[in-house]
Structure formats: C-alpha cells, structure tokens
C-alpha cells in the first residue's frame, strides 16, 4: 500500500514538472530541423505575388530553405534581418534571423543559403527564426 502511495506521489511530481516545463518552454530553434521545401527567393516571391491565398496554403508555417544573393543586412532592435534579392526591385525575401545571430555572417552581395519559417507576404515574403545553412 505504501508503495502505491509513493508511486502516485512520484508520478504527480513528474507530471507537475512536465507541465511546468511545457508551459515555460521557449520557442525552439530551427537549426536542428530539416527544411520542408527548398526553392529560390524569386520563385517564393512569385508564388505569393501571383496567388497569395494559394501560396499561404502551401508555405505558411513551413520551414523553407532559400538560396540567393544578399541584397541588404539590417540590424534593428537587436534583431538581424537578411534581405535576399529577387527580380522585383521593390520586394525581397526577408529572413529575420534567430536571436544571437552574428550580422557579420552575412554580407551584401554574397550568396547564402538560409532556412526559416514562412509567416506570409506583405510587401515581401517574411521568414522568421531563420538560420544559415551555408
């Protein structure tokens, strides 16, 4: 009987511990997860420009890997954003890099491969929590 009580107490503590951990768990990094889709910045932008609803259905929340030329690196409020060039001068694929990203890792004019979670399209396609693949 005593044994059962001990087991119940231990399970209770484990459950509470798990609940507390689950509740406080931070947003997990994408560095360990593999990309769902890989395409060029231009194809990604064109998909949203031509049919936003369809592109939303296809790409939202997906980890997307894009390779292209860096057109701009912007640091504001401690967050680095890497802009990837497309054939549309006004629009880019903007990759908001994950916390702790070193802006020196990306320089304008060079080629880069980045994966990030797709959040949608405003003037640009925005990927967040992005990490450099190479």
């Amino acid at each position: 009987m005593k044994k059962i009580i001990y087991i119940v107490i231990i399970l209770g503590i484990l459950g509470a511990g798990f609940g507390y951990y689950h509740y406080n768990r931070p947003v997990s990094s994408l560095s360990g997860s593999s990309a769902d889709i890989s395409l060029t910045p231009n194809d990604l932008l064109t998909a949203f420009e031509s049919n936003e609803t369809e592109a939303n259905g296809k790409y939202l929340d997906k980890v997307i890997q894009v390779s292209g030329q860096v057109s701009k690196v912007e640091v504001s409020a401690g967050k680095t954003s890497v802009y990837l060039k497309t054939s549309n001068e006004m629009s880019s694929v903007i990759c908001e890099m994950e916390d702790g990203f070193d802006p020196a890792m990306a320089s304008t004019g060079t080629n880069i491969t980045i994966k990030g979670k797709c959040t949608g399209y405003l003037m640009d396609v925005v990927l967040v929590q992005a990490v450099v693949v190479k």
Binding site: H22, V27, N56, E74, K79, I94, T119, L122, M123
Partner: protein, 182 residues
C-alpha cells in the same frame, strides 16, 4: 535660356512636394495583456508601413505569425486558437493622419497627430481613431502610436477557462523609423 533655367528651378522646387512618400519594412508592433494571473507580451519587428506626408494617407501591415512570445505555448495558442493566423495571416490599418497639414517634415519637431481609419484584425474590419506622434529630427522621420483594442470587437473568443488569464482589452503599440520612398 534664362526662362528654361527658371523653369527648371521651378520644377526642382516642386519635386519635394511630389515625393513625400515614406515607408518602412522594419516597423515594430507590440502588445501587452496584463492580468493578475498572467503577463503576456509579444513583439513583431517586421511591420510594414507607408505614409504619404502630402495627403496624410497611412497604411500598416503586420504578419500575425511573425509575433514573438517568450513562451512557445503562448505563441501557439495565439496563432492557433485566438488569431487563427493560417486563415487570417495579417492585420492591417488603412487610414490617414487627420491633421497632416500641421506636420512639417522639413522642420525638426515633435508633432502630435490624430489617426483615423480601419483596423483589420482576425478578418474583422473596424473603424478606429488613435493619437500618435510624428518626430522629425535631422531629416529623419519616425512615428509612434498606441491603440487599445477590445478583443470581442474582433471576434477573438477567449475560452471561459482562461478568461482570467487574458485581458479583455489589449494595448497595441506601434513605432516606425521611416525612409524616403525612392
């Protein structure tokens, strides 16, 4: 010849009046919900905004999925249960600065402004008014405003089980450093 030069000078003088469009792709939108039970904060640094200082027309856009929370669980609930961000991926404001004639973007100063327009959240569009500030300093223009939103107005349902954890009214703060549209 003199006439041509005069003419050109005249046109050159007119140009600034035509190019008073400013924009940002790095605007900040944040919101807070404070109750005794829980403090919820989220930030989005990827807001876009365009302002035409000639007419006062102003637009904002923000992707719901680009809001960052401290806790992953809050971010998931926000996206999946409350904002339904796969169905409604963005929130927008379209309106104007009502007292645009009082804002002189070629003169340093802090200009209080009145914003009026439609705020579109969760697929529901509602007319709103808000106070804001435009600051001009050394040729740089920035803007900020604060809007209080009643969640029920935007059909955002909070289940009764967690209704004490989430405020019924949420303060949304927006700030932007504007760049000239080239």
């Amino acid at each position: 010849m003199k006439k041509v030069i005069l003419g050109l000078a005249f046109v050159a003088n007119m140009l600034p009046a035509f190019s008073q469009k400013y924009f940002t792709k790095e605007g900040t939108v944040s919101f807070h919900s404070h109750t005794n039970m829980e403090k919820i904060e989220a930030v989005n640094n990827k807001a876009t905004s365009v302002v035409d200082f000639a007419t006062g027309a102003m637009e904002w856009g923000v992707l719901i999925k680009a809001f960052r929370f401290e806790k992953a669980l809050m971010q998931e609930h926000f996206n999946e249960n409350y904002m339904e961000s796969s169905k409604y991926p963005k929130a927008t404001f379209k309106g104007k600065i009502e007292n645009i004639t009082e804002v002189k973007i070629d003169k340093d100063g802090t200009y209080p402004v009145m914003l009026k327009g439609n705020l579109d959240i969760h697929g529901v569009s509602k007319p709103v008014t808000a106070k804001g500030t435009i600051i001009v300093k050394g040729g740089k223009i920035s803007g900020s405003s604060k809007i209080r939103v009643l969640l029920a107005n935007y059909k955002i349902d909070i289940p009764s089980l967690v209704k004490d954890n989430i405020a019924k009214e949420v303060d949304i703060e927006i700030t932007a450093d504007y760049l000239a549209f080239k």
